[in-house]
């Protein structure tokens, strides 16, 4: 007996501005362009949208700003803000809202001008009085504390982290739309400036601009549109903490729970997945999430990534757009994991296309390993 939400909703359209450095544009300019592209992708119009889901780092009331800018009046809205994973929380909520008839056309959207507006990560005001006196670099030091403990417990090395950056760049070199392309060597990565041990500059994601959008509908209605629908087979979310000191075990994230929920709903397991997107805010997070998502045992992420498994030609294609490390990272990257998964399942990825990809897993993270959300997507063949 399959889960009642399995395949109930589908992604009908996607929009990606691919403007990674676009001075003179606001986050809402990026967002609006992505929305127009996503609606044109599936042949719908703004008047069809009746559910709006939005998160933007620089806005405390993103749904209101987005609705006004787009000129739409919606009957269902969700501005859940849990960092970079927000859009996969939106996705789960959109599937549920569509199923219950709270809306018929759900739009999930995002925009950022983080690079051109100054080149620093834009964070929502969210003071942490028990951390601030110690001046951790936010969010880098929090991830560094997790990586340091993982190295201590499992013998993970900086060379393992470098191999994640190399794999990402090798994929990016197959993607004409990636921001960081060109040769990169292991030595260059390892000699990069240390920021918060053991994380170096080369272990950190890019800082870019960007905009992205998704249009979702119930599967029966999505079948008649311009592009073949990509079905939402399963979703799962989990929230575990806000500050890194409150994370129970720094080497295991709540992705363990979000992915179990997603696998259960989809009725699949790790060996069924053809294509994987994980939120690589840092090289270390790729390794950590591959463990937590069940692609290798806990503690073996280092040897797994250094075996070449995740690079082009490896056994598990991971972050085929080049990831946050080499494709783009506008601050809250989560939506781009879905965009690339849809492109792969549509067979639209050119040189980096995974032949015969039918099931993709996209995983996003928010805060400091705080919020975790997993989506499993499939082609018509999986329904």
């Amino acid at each position: 007996m399959s889960h009642p939400l399995r395949g109930r909703a589908a992604i009908a359209g996607i929009g990606n501005t691919k403007r990674w450095n676009a001075p003179g544009r606001t986050p809402f300019d990026q967002m609006q362009e992505a929305v127009i592209l996503a609606l044109e992708d599936c042949g719908l119009g703004l008047k069809d949208v009746d559910g709006l889901f939005c998160a933007i780092s620089s806005s405390g009331l993103p749904v209101l700003n987005a609705a006004e800018r787009l000129g739409i009046s919606v009957r269902h809205a969700d501005g859940t803000m849990v960092g970079g994973a927000s859009f996969l929380f939106h996705l789960q909520n959109a599937v549920s809202a569509l199923d219950h008839g709270l809306c018929d056309v759900a739009l999930i959207c995002y925009g950022s001008n983080q690079l051109s507006a100054g080149g620093r990560l834009v964070s929502m005001p969210d003071p942490q009085p028990y951390e601030a006196p110690y001046k951790p670099r936010y969010p880098i030091s929090s991830y560094a504390l997790s990586a340091a403990r993982h190295m201590h417990d499992y013998g993970t090395t900086r060379e393992n982290l470098a191999d994640v950056a190399l794999a990402a760049r090798t994929w990016a070199n197959l993607n004409p739309d990636a921001f960081a392309r060109g040769p990169l060597t292991r030595d260059e990565i390892l000699s990069s400036r240390m920021v918060s041990d053991p994380i170096t500059r080369a272990d950190c994601c890019l800082v870019t601009d960007g905009g992205a959008a998704l249009v979702l509908m119930r599967a029966d209605r999505a079948r008649d549109l311009a592009k073949p629908p990509i079905y939402v087979l399963g979703t799962g979310t989990a929230v575990s903490h806000r500050q890194i000191a409150a994370m129970p075990d720094l080497t295991t994230t709540a992705a363990v729970e979000s992915v179990r929920r997603a696998y259960d709903m989809a009725g699949v397991g790790p060996s069924d997945i053809d294509h994987v997107m994980v939120y690589d805010a840092f090289t270390f997070t790729t390794l950590l999430f591959l463990e937590d998502l069940g692609f290798c045992p806990k503690g073996e992420g280092g040897s797994f990534v250094s075996s070449g498994a995740i690079a082009p030609g490896g056994s598990l294609p991971v972050n085929t757009n080049g990831g946050g490390l080499s494709c783009n990272h506008p601050g809250m990257y989560g939506l781009f994991t879905i965009i690339e998964a849809v492109e792969q399942l549509r067979g639209a990825c050119g040189e980096r296309q995974i032949q015969g990809a039918e099931i993709a897993l996209a995983h996003a993270n928010g805060g400091v390993l705080s919020s975790q959300a997993t989506a499993i997507l499939g082609t018509a063949a999986t329904i």
Partner: protein
């Protein structure tokens, strides 16, 4: 209806800060299940009981994880310390070079005015390093 008397008095953050200003490092202990909670809150994080007692911390702790923040002309430590009472807090280990702070190192707390009073740690005298 009057406010629930279980939650009368100053809030937990106020109690914590007031004690720090008096040079005292206080931790919350649950009278029901004996769990220790940090950062402080209204009820026990383990069992939900509002029967909470503030007690002076032993100041003893063990480094759970550690990083060195690198700035152009200043490197400093940021650590997560597992307190002997059972809670975990972010802090800084002073008194040794940041590179010498190790996971598993035993440390001892002290209160330092920077200028606001905060809890810092130093390697324990005679402790494992």
């Amino acid at each position: 209806m009057s406010p629930d008397p279980r939650f009368d008095g100053p809030g937990p953050e106020e109690v914590w800060l007031t004690a720090l200003k008096e040079g005292r490092f206080l931790l919350q202990h649950c009278r029901t299940c004996h769990a220790c909670r940090f950062p402080p809150a209204l009820v026990c994080g383990a069992c939900g009981s509002s029967e909470i007692e503030w007690k002076e911390a032993s100041g003893r702790g063990t480094i759970y994880s550690t990083t060195t923040v690198r700035e152009r002309d200043n490197n400093y430590n940021v650590s997560l310390v597992d307190l002997a009472e059972g809670a975990r807090m972010m802090s800084r280990v002073d008194g040794v070079s940041p590179d010498e702070v190790r996971i598993g190192m035993e440390v001892q707390a002290r209160i330092v005015a920077e200028p606001e009073p905060i809890v810092l740690f130093a390697p324990s005298a005679g402790g494992a390093s």
